[in-house]
């Protein structure tokens, strides 16, 4: 065996790891970022921006206002339609009642004018 071979054998000789090697490796990997974790962290940091928080709050308030306005308009339209329908009902009942009573009155008048023998 020449000296080169001797050096190579020594270099490639199996060595037992030092005590606590595995724990040290695990401990170091825990500190490293996981795949995809970076993106989420960046997104989280982006969301945490005060400007964005204000913007989100403003949008939420605007949405609430719009929803409130739409609801109010719907209620207002319903109220207007209801009031209009009520007016129409009153008008229709007024005409119907008047015409009915006019007919009845005419019949009664004729009945009074007609001699009993002719009835």
């Amino acid at each position: 065996m020449n000296p080169f071979e001797e050096k190579l054998r020594n270099a490639l000789r199996r060595k037992a790891p030092s005590e606590g090697f595995a724990e040290k490796v695990l401990a170091r990997t825990r500190g490293l970022p996981q795949p995809g974790e970076k993106t989420w962290r960046q997104f989280g940091a982006f969301l945490a921006l005060p400007v964005l928080r204000w913007a989100a709050a403003t949008v939420a308030v605007c949405l609430l206002i719009v929803a409130g306005l739409v609801h109010h308009q719907r209620q207002e339209r319903l109220r207007r339609e209801g009031e209009m329908a009520r007016t129409q009902v009153r008008q229709a009942l007024r005409i119907a009642s008047v015409k009915l009573n006019v007919a009845r009155r005419r019949v009664q008048e004729i009945g009074r004018e007609t001699p009993p023998s002719r009835l």
């Binding site: 319903l78 109220r79 339609e81 209801g82 009031e83 329908a85 009520r86 129409q88 009902v89 009153r90 008008q91 229709a92 009942l93 007024r94 005409i95 119907a96 009642s97 008047v98 015409k99 009915l100 009573n101 006019v102 007919a103 009845r104 009155r105 005419r106 019949v107 009664q108 008048e109 004729i110 009945g111």
Partner: protein, 200 residues
């Protein structure tokens, strides 16, 4: 005329004859409907000086009833409670003769027996006024299905069509309430038992 045209003419004649036969042996399809077709009167609106056009179906009546909360509305609310529709057309004209008898006849044609019956017909020949009241009742004589009033005066035409179980007594007793003018002393009306036709 070629052969194809001849066939078309024959087919058209057959269809027409069939329709006429159907019309002759069956009452009009709308005759049994408590809701009258009064669209033919719409052109009169152009001639009229005043028009009242009320079209209230069941949905609108329900909506209206939610808003009839005044004490004054109480009796009206009771009347419309179970109704399915109220339709009124009232035309007032500046001069007589603005509507034709055909306009009224189109309504009369729908008020046919067996379901429709005229309970009141009051004519004033002197004043040229006619008021008719029709009721639609089922053949077994149960609840009223509808009512129609035709009031034809020289300068005014009124058609009232109420769909549903209308209480005539309550409707009549609205006089003096809900802004309805009191026409004068009227004896308590009796329930309609049959046809009362009177002419003046």
């Amino acid at each position: 005329m070629n052969v194809t045209q001849g066939k078309i003419h024959i087919n058209a004649a057959l269809i027409l004859a069939g329709a006429m036969l159907l019309g002759a042996f069956n009452p009009p399809a709308f005759a049994q409907n408590p809701k009258l077709d009064i669209k033919n009167l719409e052109p009169l609106a152009k001639k009229a000086s005043e028009v009242v056009d009320v079209n209230l179906d069941g949905t609108l009546l329900k909506l209206a009833s939610k808003f009839m909360t005044d004490e004054d509305d109480k009796e009206g609310l009771e009347i419309i409670k179970n109704l399915k529709g109220i339709y009124v057309k009232n035309f007032e004209f500046d001069k007589p003769g603005e509507y034709s008898q055909a306009d009224v006849e189109a309504i009369h044609e729908q008020l046919q027996r067996p379901l429709w019956s005229r309970i009141v017909s009051a004519q004033s020949k002197k004043e040229g006024e006619t008021t008719e009241v029709y009721l639609m009742t089922p053949s077994d004589g149960g609840t009223i299905l509808g009512m129609a009033i035709i009031d034809a005066e020289p300068r005014e035409l009124t058609i009232v069509n109420i769909v549903g179980p209308i209480d005539i007594e309550k409707l009549s007793s609205l006089e003096g309430k809900m802004g309805i003018p009191r026409l004068g002393k009227l004896e308590p009306a009796k329930k309609p038992e049959g046809q009362h036709e009177t002419q003046k």
